[in-house]
């Protein structure tokens, strides 16, 4: 099965008054058609910049080198008008902040119809305005209804009320569902979900994850999150990022239950709480992306550091189905 998305050696940088921030340093990632891949990591690891780069929305960052091949085309080479046909249409995003992603001045119905208008007419202002003012779009309403059915909403009464609501009248969980519907209406090849659970309370979280999990049957997905639960419920493969690099990558049930990279281990055990058991030991601050030391970016904080970690940057090594960028997993043994 060919890869729908192939990221090769991606380097993204930001020029700041404090120096050059290397947000992504050599990221390699494959997403095959029909897969759901999770990108896990904490803030500052580069996961946000990574998915923004897929949408060419990484400004003021610059894609310095590398390639992003989507559906056969290298999108780093596309012009802006060409990119517009990809962004939102072929690759759709469900943003993290559902409170601000929706326009507070328009009802849900208007915003969803706008999405359809963009899909069909290429987003020309005249056509969007034209659609909003005319009242009959039975075909489109059907489409909206179908999408919401897929998301688990079948009640006619409930749906009508939802469509008439303004964003501020809805709870977080509902808004997220509207955003997912909006993305689905674009009929994308790839759906990116940015931190789908962070802004939700626990009761809605489980439902939301279930929705995403079921969506995978129709769509290829990329889930970006630091939440272990979210990744576990929705993804078949997982890539762990740290300091702008992918440090571990493989099938989700392997990586999440048996993490190999020392950082993945810390990240995953930090989110497991067994009563009466110890919490993880405190450790020193994570590295910043400006003064990246040579060698492994994690070596200063790594509990299992060996001498060569200091000056030799680890390449990914295979350990079964999992690839780990750590000297401890070299075939020949740690240096």
């Amino acid at each position: 099965m060919t890869a729908l998305l192939r990221v090769r050696d991606l380097h993204v940088q930001f020029d700041t008054s404090h120096g050059i921030v290397r947000a992504n340093s050599g990221v390699n990632l494959d997403v095959r058609e029909g897969e759901s891949v999770g990108i896990m990591g904490e803030s500052g690891c580069g996961k946000t910049v990574l998915f923004l780069s897929l949408l060419r929305l990484q400004q003021p960052g610059r894609i310095v080198s590398g390639s992003i091949t989507f559906d056969g085309r290298d999108i780093t080479l596309l012009s802006e008008p060409e990119m517009e046909s990809v962004r939102g249409r072929r690759i759709a995003l469900v943003p993290q902040n559902h409170a601000t992603a929706l326009n507070p001045a328009y009802t849900v119905r208007d915003q969803l119809i706008e999405a359809i208008a963009v899909r069909e007419d290429g987003g020309r202002l005249s056509s969007i305005l034209g659609r909003r003012s005319s009242s009959v779009h039975s075909g489109h309403l059907e489409e909206i209804r179908t999408v919401f059915n897929d998301l688990g909403f079948s009640g006619e009464r409930v749906l009508t009320r939802l469509l008439q609501s303004y964003p501020h009248e809805l709870s977080g969980g509902m808004r997220q569902r509207v955003l997912i519907a909006m993305a689905l209406l674009m009929r994308p090849r790839l759906l990116i979900a940015d931190e789908p659970t962070t802004a939700l309370d626990r009761a809605t979280r489980a439902q939301s994850l279930e929705v995403l999990r079921q969506l995978n049957a129709q769509l290829t997905m990329l889930v970006v999150s630091h939440d272990l639960d979210a990744i576990r419920h929705t993804c078949k493969r997982v890539a762990v990022m740290y300091a702008g690099r992918i440090v571990e990558e493989g099938p989700a049930d392997e990586v999440l239950t048996n993490p190999r990279h020392p950082y993945s281990r810390l990240l995953i055990s930090a989110q497991t709480r067994k009563r009466g058991g110890p919490l993880l030991e405190t450790f020193t601050e994570t590295s910043d992306l400006i003064d990246v030391p040579p060698g492994c970016p994690f070596h200063r904080a790594c509990p299992q550091m060996v001498p060569c970690c200091i000056d030799v940057e680890p390449r990914p090594h295979q350990d079964g189905q999992v690839s780990v960028a750590c000297h401890l997993y070299r075939e020949a043994g740690p240096c």
Partner: protein, 316 residues
């Protein structure tokens, strides 16, 4: 150690140009008759969703905002009727740690100044002794002394929260009220903070009121847990039993022990701005087990097992 009885904090909200004078009965009952005890040395967890009133509870307990009714007693002294001297002594003993250290630290103060402030307010020691204490505090919170000259905007979220914790611990309080100490932080960093908190608690014999919406954290750390819903405590249960043995319908949905329907999610959203009924159980609209009397009678918190209290008519 700490006794809260029937604590109430109501906000009068009015609509229309005359505001509160026009519709005086539009009251938001942020905290509506909360009673619980905190025993010396325990970690008492309080969980609830946003809007349940947990943060207002923390502020009102600390007398940072005036209560509408009820009492708070700390070591047999009535907090709300304390004079300035007694209140100052109370503040030394009971310290908060709030969520979002970004706003609890003055952007113009250096870390050194932030940590020195409590010592200066309570006149604890001369300059040398203060510096000694600050150095010890830095050790306890695992922060490098090189950060003393930095300002909050130059620190990471985790570092800021640790400074806030250090500031609270410098007074050597006996009770910490930690309101969402880890939300907004990455899981790894948040766990570090939690770990620090519990370590300090062990070493100093502190009592902690841990307020959080993260059920896993509370289930892990708390000796007893209180569940809040719309300003009321609906259940108080031992920490060990919490994850599986909660009995109140809301607690069970919260913990994922029982499902809430998709309709319920929409209803919650659309009704988000409605106010609580004066009588009757606040959860009655969404409760799968409600009885007829739940509409009229607010269920009291009753002990159904030793140490396990539930406010629900349907629970025997």
């Amino acid at each position: 150690m700490l006794t809260v009885r029937d604590l109430r904090k109501h906000y009068v909200v009015g609509h229309g140009p005359l505001g509160r004078f026009q519709h005086p009965d539009h009251v938001i009952r942020a905290v509506d008759g909360v009673s619980f005890d905190v025993v010396e040395g325990e970690v008492f967890g309080i969980v609830g969703e946003s809007g349940s009133g947990k943060t207002t509870l923390a502020r009102t307990m600390l007398r940072l905002c005036p209560a509408t009714g009820g009492t708070v007693t700390f070591r047999d002294e009535d907090v709300f009727s304390m004079d300035a001297t007694a209140l100052k002594a109370f503040r030394r003993q009971v310290q908060p740690i709030f969520q979002d250290a970004d706003s609890t630290l003055d952007p113009r103060q250096s870390v050194a100044s932030v940590l020195e402030e409590p010592l200066l307010i309570h006149e604890l020691g001369n300059r040398g002794q203060r510096h000694e204490r600050i150095r010890n505090a830095l050790d306890a919170i695992n922060l490098s002394p090189s950060l003393l000259s930095r300002h909050p905007s130059e620190l990471s979220g985790g570092q800021r929260q640790r400074v806030a914790m250090g500031r609270a611990l410098l007074l050597e309080p006996s009770l910490l009220i930690a309101d969402e100490p880890t939300s907004g932080l990455d899981p790894l960093v948040g766990t570090q903070i939690l770990s620090l908190l519990l370590e300090q608690r062990r070493e100093r014999g502190l009592s902690v009121v841990l307020i959080s919406h993260d059920l896993d954290t509370v289930a892990y750390a708390a000796d007893r847990v209180g569940v809040m819903y719309r300003g009321r405590l609906v259940e108080v249960i031992g920490g060990e039993a919490f994850s599986t043995g909660a009995l109140h319908p809301y607690s069970r949905v919260l913990l994922g022990l029982e499902p809430g329907s998709a309709e319920q999610v929409l209803e919650e959203g659309v009704h988000e701005h409605e106010h609580v009924l004066e009588t009757g159980c606040p959860y009655v609209d969404l409760c799968a087990h409600h009885l007829h009397k739940c509409h009229h009678e607010n269920p009291p918190l009753r002990e159904v097992w030793p140490g396990h209290f539930v406010a629900c008519h349907a629970v025997r």
